[in-house]
């Protein structure tokens, strides 16, 4: 009954309803983009973090005990997830596997040509520098390879996107909030006579206020649903291009569960914003005696 009544009210002044819904849709569409960027950035970071992030090649004359000591020292930092020792023979096997289609490159290459090394994976990307520095200072180590700049940049980028997203979405959310206060306020003004009559014949405040709360919640629900649907369609459409760009970092197909959680989260936040906007409008404009 109340929902029917709310829909009837929305039909009577569709442009105000459209303005409020569009504001909500835009806000949550932008919010969805930021969520996808942040989650995507995290996936890329996780991928990089799972790869060996520091590779240290040992000098030819390095003994097994020196290598083991280095491994022990690296592990003792407690910053590593995994430290893998690659012997000269294993390095040759890897080399052969990688170049199996190019026999010229395999000719005359023996295990002696290749250095033994350790592959280190760190727990947190920001600890790469420390591990890398520690290995560079080790006398047995010939060379250290790290993707430190890339990881640093990614961490910085993710943090910036997160901060920027929060700021931008908060601003949009405030605008939507104000639009809802305005739209619901206008509806209260339009229905002032009806509200006054209902109050005089014994309607409770809650009875009078309920359709306005429902209206605010409905703007949130529709706005967030439209936004989630749009981001789903866009990601579906552009997934081959994005995947090409990301290369080996597997992001697609995105689990439907992600979209369900995104939808539930956004609907909850948007409805809360809608209800809060209605509450302010009711407090401001509805003076029932």
């Amino acid at each position: 009954m109340k929902v029917k009544k709310t829909l009837r009210v929305l039909r009577r002044s569709p442009y105000q309803a459209l303005a409020a819904t569009l504001a909500m849709s835009l806000t949550f569409f932008i919010a969805s983009i930021f969520v996808v960027l942040i989650v995507g950035g995290q996936v890329v970071l996780n991928y990089i973090e799972q790869r060996p992030q520091v590779i240290a090649f040992f000098k030819d004359q390095t003994t097994e005990s020196q290598i083991n000591e280095t491994i022990t020292n690296v592990k003792a930092t407690n910053l590593t997830k995994d430290v893998k020792y690659i012997t000269k023979e294993e390095a040759l096997a890897i080399y052969r596997e990688r170049n199996k289609d190019e026999p010229l490159l395999l000719e005359s290459v023996t295990a002696d040509f290749l250095p033994s090394s350790i592959d280190v994976s760190v727990k947190r990307a920001q600890d790469i520098n420390q591990i890398s520095q520690m290995l560079k200072e080790n006398q047995s180590v010939e060379r250290v390879i790290t993707p430190e700049n890339l990881v640093e940049q990614l961490v910085k980028w993710t943090k910036t996107v997160r901060a920027g997203g929060i700021l931008f979405v908060s601003t949009l959310l405030s605008i939507s909030f104000l639009i809802i206060i305005m739209v619901v306020g206008m509806r209260i003004a339009i229905r002032r006579d009806e509200i006054s009559i209902m109050s005089l014949v014994g309607a409770t405040k809650w009875y009078i206020a309920k359709p306005f709360f429902l209206e605010g919640a409905l703007y949130g629900f529709i706005g967030a649903s439209v936004a989630t649907f749009l981001i789903y369609v866009i990601l579906l459409f552009y997934s081959p291009n994005i995947q090409n760009f990301l290369g080996p970092i597997q992001i697609f197909p995105i689990s439907p569960q992600f979209f369900v959680y995104l939808w539930i989260g956004e609907v909850a936040i948007a409805s809360a914003v809608g209800i809060a906007g209605s509450a302010i409008a009711l407090y401001r404009y509805l003076r029932i005696k």
Binding site: E194, M198, G202, A203, T204, K289
Partner: protein, 227 residues
């Protein structure tokens, strides 16, 4: 029973609407509250529904001090009181049926109950065939009858009528008060009607409370009024 005990009402602009009023209205009575414009008639009625509150004094409805009621209980008080206004206060975008149904709508009555009771109320006021008309399609008397139907649909104990005949021609006005009298007789509803129409007051020979400058000047059974 409605009782005013030393009730005064002073508006923020300094105007004194009621000044130390003591008045008791028994169940089932028909009372005319008469007086010139500004005598305090409307204020007296609005105090009963707690649309406004007095500056001092007590107002008892069924022995309950309505000024001590919490805001949650006010709707319950108003459901016991039907009100008819001089300006009708009908919703122009709703049909007669929908207007009359408002008091039932706010208590979430079932559709079957609404249909049955609206039909009964409209029959009582003689508008059974106007259910689907809009207020703009009705005559002045019919509009006021619609307002009366809305006021009585929830079978109130008290019916307040604030100048219900002010904008009506004498014949229609007479018909409207006759209808209020019928409601008073048949349903034993207490009727309190504010008016300054002396022809009506003198014709119906009911209790008359005359207000002058916020004070009760006279209170007579089968009283007369000379405006």
């Amino acid at each position: 029973m409605i009782e005013f005990v030393q009730v005064s009402k002073k508006y923020p602009n300094g105007q004194i609407a009621l000044d130390d009023i003591n008045l008791k209205i028994e169940d089932g009575e028909f009372v005319f509250i008469v007086g010139h414009s500004g005598a305090g008639k409307s204020s007296l009625l609005r105090l009963i529904t707690r649309e406004i509150t007095p500056s001092s004094g007590r107002i008892l409805v069924n022995n309950e001090d309505i000024l001590k009621m919490t805001s949650k209980k006010i709707p319950l008080l108003r459901r016991k009181i039907g009100t008819v206004f001089q300006d009708f206060k009908l919703l122009l975008n709703r049909t007669v049926f929908e207007n009359v149904a408002v008091p039932l709508e706010v208590v979430s009555a079932s559709e079957a109950q609404v249909t049955k009771e609206v039909a009964e109320a409209l029959d009582k006021v003689g508008l059974g065939d106007k259910a689907n008309s809009f207020p703009a399609q009705l005559s002045g008397g019919e509009v006021q009858r619609t307002a009366i139907a809305r006021a009585i649909i929830s079978k109130p104990q008290v019916l307040l009528a604030d100048e219900p005949t002010a904008d009506l021609d004498p014949e229609t006005a007479h018909g409207v008060v006759k209808l209020l009298e019928k409601i008073n007789d048949e349903d034993k509803t207490t009727v309190i009607m504010a008016t300054h129409n002396e022809t009506i007051v003198n014709h119906f020979k009911k209790r008359v409370v005359v207000l002058k400058k916020g004070k009760i000047e006279r209170d007579e059974k089968e009283g007369k009024y000379e405006g």
